[in-house]
Each structure stands twice: as structure tokens, then as C-alpha cells.
């Protein structure tokens, strides 16, 4: 298949906190193929979120590289990075991070508007994306008027509205009850299968992790 979609080489991240350096990731190397569905597990503080942020270019590594289709993400300038985040990556955060002033539909439209799509087109895409996560009847609700599971599904719809090739989900079900979490997991698997989206999901949920085709475990900043 040639080079993988994502190649992560010797990724390290060190934070300076109060004059002391804290090494969160120690040279993590990993290949992720197109269409992979990867569960990233590990105890709290193992560097899972940091790993996801680095892959999604939300943070810069101290050492090491992330190659997306053989292109070093560190070589991209601000504009190219913004474009990469907009078109290629979708992010789902643990605490959904929806914008509370806007309705579910407007929240989902946001990436499309940021990507300079026309309002009408953005609306159509957003409605379709919300429908895909089963929230067609909640479009005009504000995030505050939705349940935790619904909020997380809106966040998922937002991440998917531009059909990214890579979905990075940081404990999307960390704050949800098992049943709601199950629904979201099923949705992730379905998206991976039908849209061929490559998914990396950080999770504490052993049951989910064991049901995914590929599992990667981080402990104390290293792959185990």
C-alpha cells in the first residue's frame, strides 16, 4: 500500500511547568493506515490527549514528526495548517466544546462557514450531518437544551460535516452513561465502515476498546 496515511515518528512533548520540565510523550512512533479504526487507551496522564492534539496540529511537538501522506505537518504554514484542520481532520473533544450561543444546526454549520462555503450549502451539509447522527429533530435547540449524549452527537456531527478523512475523538463518551456511550460507539464504527473515515478514538472504556480492530496502549508517554 506504500506509505501509510499517518506516520508518527519519535513524537515527544515536554511541558515546562513551574521551571520543571514534564515529559508527557517519549518518542512515540506509530503508523496508521487509511480506514483504520484505532482505540487509544491508557491511564490518565499517559499522554493520550496530548498525542491526539499533536496529530491534529492543535499543538506542536517538542521532537519527532507527524507525516500525513508523507507530508511533514510541521512544514505547513499557518494558512495550510488551518486548511488541514478544516478539510482533513475532524475533532471531537471530551467536553463537547460546542458554542453555547448557537443552535445545534449553527454549531454544525460552523466548520463549513469557516471553510468559506455559502450559507445555504453549509445549512444543507449541517442538516445532513445531524441527520446522520440521529438528531434531525433537535436542530434548532441550543447546546444547553440538549442532553449530554445529544451534545456529544452534535459535536460528532460538527466534526463530520465536511467529511474529513481523519476523525480524532478524545474520550467522546467519557462523561456519558454506558447506554448512550454504546450508541456513540456504534456510530463511530458505522462511520468508519460506510464513509471510510480513519478514526482514532481515545477511550477508557475497555469494552469499546476490545471491540475495535486495532488497539494501541500508552503508558507514561510510551507505547506498550
Amino acid at each position: 500500500m506504500g506509505s501509510p496515511m499517518l506516520r508518527i515518528e519519535g513524537l515527544s512533548k515536554t511541558y515546562l511547568i513551574g521551571g520543571r520540565s514534564l515529559e508527557v510523550l517519549h518518542g512515540v512512533s506509530l503508523d496508521i493506515e487509511e480506514g483504520d479504526l484505532v482505540a487509544l487507551t491508557g491511564p490518565s496522564g499517559a499522554g493520550k490527549s496530548t498525542f491526539l492534539h499533536l496529530v491534529g496540529t492543535l499543538d506542536e511537538p517538542t521532537a519527532g514528526r507527524v507525516l500525513f501522506e508523507s507530508r511533514d505537518l510541521a512544514s505547513l504554514d499557518e494558512e495550510e495548517l488551518a486548511d488541514f484542520r478544516n478539510r482533513t481532520v475532524g475533532f471531537v473533544f471530551q467536553s463537547h466544546h460546542l458554542l453555547p450561543e448557537f443552535s445545534a444546526l449553527e454549531n454544525v454549520m460552523m466548520p463549513a462557514l469557516v471553510g468559506r462555503r455559502q450559507r445555504g450549502e453549509a445549512r444543507v451539509l449541517a442538516a445532513a450531518s445531524l441527520e446522520r447522527v440521529g438528531l434531525a429533530d433537535r436542530m434548532e435547540h441550543r447546546p444547553g437544551e440538549l442532553s449530554g449524549g445529544e451534545q456529544q452527537r452534535v459535536a460528532l456531527a460538527r466534526a463530520l460535516v465536511l467529511e474529513p478523512r481523519l476523525l480524532l475523538a478524545d474520550e467522546p463518551t467519557g462523561n456519558l452513561d454506558p447506554q448512550t456511550a454504546e450508541g456513540i460507539h456504534a456510530l463511530l464504527k458505522d462511520l468508519n465502515r460506510t464513509l471510510r473515515i480513519t478514526v482514532v478514538v481515545v477511550t477508557h472504556n475497555e469494552q469499546l476498546a476490545s471491540s475495535l480492530p486495532r488497539r494501541v496502549r500508552l503508558a507514561a508517554g510510551r507505547l506498550v
Binding site: L58, H97, M110, V114
Partner: protein, 149 residues
């Protein structure tokens, strides 16, 4: 004798300009402070927008626009207040002692050009005041706004 009078008047003009300049400076810094607060308050939102691909210019535009709206509202109020005061003074008249000033009322001269100049200067300053906070906001690393829960 006239030379003394005119140099005193010139001096007064300079002092007035300095005082007004300081008032404008303080007002501009209030815009800067308001926007810096806003940027700090919206760190999370900025991070979310950046994580979905908003570039530096789009984030800057948001805060420049906000600053200009504040500036425009302030300018409009200021101009209306100034115009109103001028009209009232013109109508009511502030009596002066003709023995000293040779005229009986404080003269009022309303020049549209002056209003336009002030409006332009005020908007220009509000724009300048937005640059620092807007730049600061747009340069935030996305992860900085997402970490804190």
C-alpha cells in the same frame, strides 16, 4: 500687550490639546483593556474555531470588528452629545461681559468638517486599539484553550 495676550491664547490651546489627547488615550486604552478581557474570556471559543480551521485573519477580524463597533457607538454618542451641547449653548446663550470681550454671548460655530475629522480620528484610534488584542487572540495555540476544563 497684544503679543502677550496671543501667546497666552496659544499656550492655552496647546494645554487643551494635551488634555484632550490624554482623554482620548485613556479612552483608547479602555478599548484595548475591554478587548484583552474579551480575548481571555473567549479563549475556549477561539481554540474551538481554530481547531475547525479558522485562520489567523478570520480570528483577527472578529476582534477588530468588535472593537470598531465599540468605537463607532462611542463616536456616535460623542458626536451627538457634542452637537447637542453646541445647539443648546447657541440657543440659550452664555452671556459674556461686553466690556471685556466686545461681544455679549459666547459664539457657537458648528463646522461639519470638524465633526467629520473627529469621527474619523476616533474611528482610526479605535482601529489601532484593536490591533494588539486581536493579534494576541489570533496567535493563541488551539490547545491552550482546550486543556482547561
Amino acid at each position: 500687550m497684544n503679543r502677550n495676550l496671543f501667546s497666552a491664547l496659544a499656550m492655552e490651546k496647546i494645554v487643551m490639546a494635551v488634555i484632550l489627547g490624554f482623554i482620548v488615550l485613556v479612552a483608547s486604552f479602555i478599548i484595548v483593556a475591554t478587548l484583552v478581557m474579551l480575548v481571555l474570556e473567549k479563549t475556549r471559543e477561539i481554540a474551538v474555531l481554530k481547531s475547525m480551521g479558522a485562520g489567523l485573519p478570520s480570528i483577527m477580524k472578529i476582534f477588530v470588528a468588535e472593537g470598531l463597533v465599540i468605537g463607532a457607538v462611542g463616536t456616535a454618542f460623542g458626536l451627538l452629545l457634542g452637537l447637542g451641547t453646541c445647539l443648546v449653548i447657541d440657543k440659550v446663550g452664555i452671556p459674556l461681559d461686553p466690556e471685556v470681550y466686545y461681544i455679549s454671548n459666547l459664539p457657537v460655530l458648528i463646522e461639519p468638517g470638524q465633526f467629520a475629522l473627529v469621527a474619523l480620528a476616533a474611528l482610526g484610534l479605535s482601529y489601532l486599539a484593536t490591533i494588539y488584542p486581536a493579534t494576541k487572540g489570533s496567535r493563541l495555540k488551539p490547545v491552550d484553550g482546550l486543556r482547561s476544563e
